[in-house]
Symmetry: C2
């Protein structure tokens, strides 16, 4: 009677005393009975297997780690960087505004659109900017700075524009990854909200497993725990507050819109994870009709 035994080192043939004979045998082999496993394992206490075990194990672990890098991790990195770029953009624009305020306070004050502000600073000199806000130079309260100072300010403005361009590129990249990986979520949630939902849920798999009510509150953990701890009002929406369907809903309907949207987003995540059909457009239409909002 001979037995067969498999482990990461390969396939072994054992004799009736459960010693390794390590030959191929064409006869039908039986599996080792459960009670005798310890006898089999005793074979592998032999030192000659130690380094072999170590190496095979390492290889398998490395392979496991390699395989664990999924779209989820890539999406998480990109969306996290988009959020960081947004914060950085705010910091640097604040600095730019202060700096410009030294020589053109009236222009700084009158231009509230951030992107346009940066653009105009890069492309115009002081005279042209004064013309834009219809102000005579003699009326301007700003200092007369010479070109060496203005150059430095323009360098900062250019850098801000570059960072905004990088953010845009990250978005395009995310869209390309998501259109394959989670087309439904992408279609209904949009790029940044969709990616942020995956980041908040850690993986698409985990997001798909969450109840819709949790999806509704992802990103509002702070308010939720405050609610649980102090009894303050419970949050009605997390990150999905930024979705146009919630944004455009009337003040009283925001909670309802968030709940219905989270419901469908949850379905989207499940469809995407289980490689289901593309239904997001349908869902959007249903939501638009029920909420009477056109986005």
């Amino acid at each position: 009677m001979k037995y067969t035994f498999n482990n990461i080192l390969g396939n072994f043939i054992l004799d009736e005393k459960f010693k390794i004979v390590d030959t191929k045998d064409k006869k039908k082999l039986e599996e080792v009975p459960k009670g005798k496993i310890s006898l089999v394992l005793a074979n592998f206490k032999d030192k000659k297997y130690y380094s072999e075990f170590y190496e095979k194990n390492l290889k398998l672990t490395k392979k496991g780690i390699k395989a664990s890098i999924s779209e989820d991790l890539l999406i998480n990195q990109a969306i996290a960087n988009i959020y960081e770029l947004d914060k950085i953009n705010n910091i640097l624009i604040k600095r730019l505004r202060e700096w410009v305020g030294l020589y053109l306070p009236e222009f700084e004050h009158s231009m509230s659109n951030q992107e346009k502000f940066v653009e105009l600073i890069i492309e115009n000199d002081k005279q042209e900017l004064l013309k834009l806000i219809k102000l005579k130079e003699s009326d301007c309260m700003g200092a007369d700075l010479d070109e060496s100072h203005l150059k430095e300010i323009r360098l900062l403005a250019k850098e801000i524009k570059e960072l905004q361009a990088l953010r845009k590129k990250h978005e395009n990249y995310l869209e390309k990854v998501m259109v394959k990986y989670c087309p439904n979520l992408l279609e209904l949630a949009g790029i940044t909200i969709g990616a942020k939902l995956i980041e908040l849920g850690r993986t698409l798999k985990h997001l798909a497993m969450l109840p819709a009510s949790t999806v509704q509150l992802l990103g509002a953990e702070k308010a939720l725990f405050r609610h649980l701890k102090t009894g303050s009002r419970s949050p009605k929406h997390g990150i999905i507050i930024n979705h146009p369907l919630v944004q455009k809903a009337g003040r009283k309907d925001k909670g309802k819109a968030a709940r219905m949207l989270a419901d469908k987003l949850s379905l989207c995540a499940r469809l995407d994870f289980f490689k289901g059909e593309f239904k997001a457009k349908e869902y959007r239409k249903i939501l638009e009709e029920k909420l009477n909002i056109k986005v």
Copy 2:
């Protein structure tokens, strides 16, 4: 008897009853006696002066604001932005390292020099990076990412390099401004510490008025107030801890080095504010000898 009276509207001639006659008179005119000022001012309650007053006042205020923009404010903006760029650089490099770690964890781990890390990521593909750390691709634990993912990571690395270049340009700019405005402080403190001292002191004038013991602690306000409030150990140095003379001093000598350096920095600020001689090189030599440190 006629009197003369000046205000921002111009020069007025008054008759003996203190009414404006507003003509030029070549006779010697007397100043209005103090007790009669209210009679003179009554003239200006006439509405015809109102808008004139308003406009002249506005013009003077604007002029005042314009004149208040000094090198101090420009230095403050530039050094504040350098500090922000440093923070941003740290945030983005951390992100880059995490992102690279997905496909080249071994490289990410082995390269501790930040600037070199960014440089190598920009200029090399995965194969070349693996060669640099002498690793076979099959041994690498990172995922096999295709070019579209790597491109995105490289874009971030390029942006980080741009930000580092902007920081360098800001430094050059500061040096140009400071070499004229505060050559002594620049020479002894260096660019970033010198500029930061002006920022912490708000202006060169104010910095020059501060006692050396305050200069020594500029930038350590938090530790100082903690000391005053809780009796914890008093701080021995603020921002000047980063100066090579303090850095290179032995652990026991740091306090002494900081005190002596602050002493001379304070003198430098005074020399610069009062347009005195250039003595910073001399001071540096004295400090080097006394502390037995060569920088």
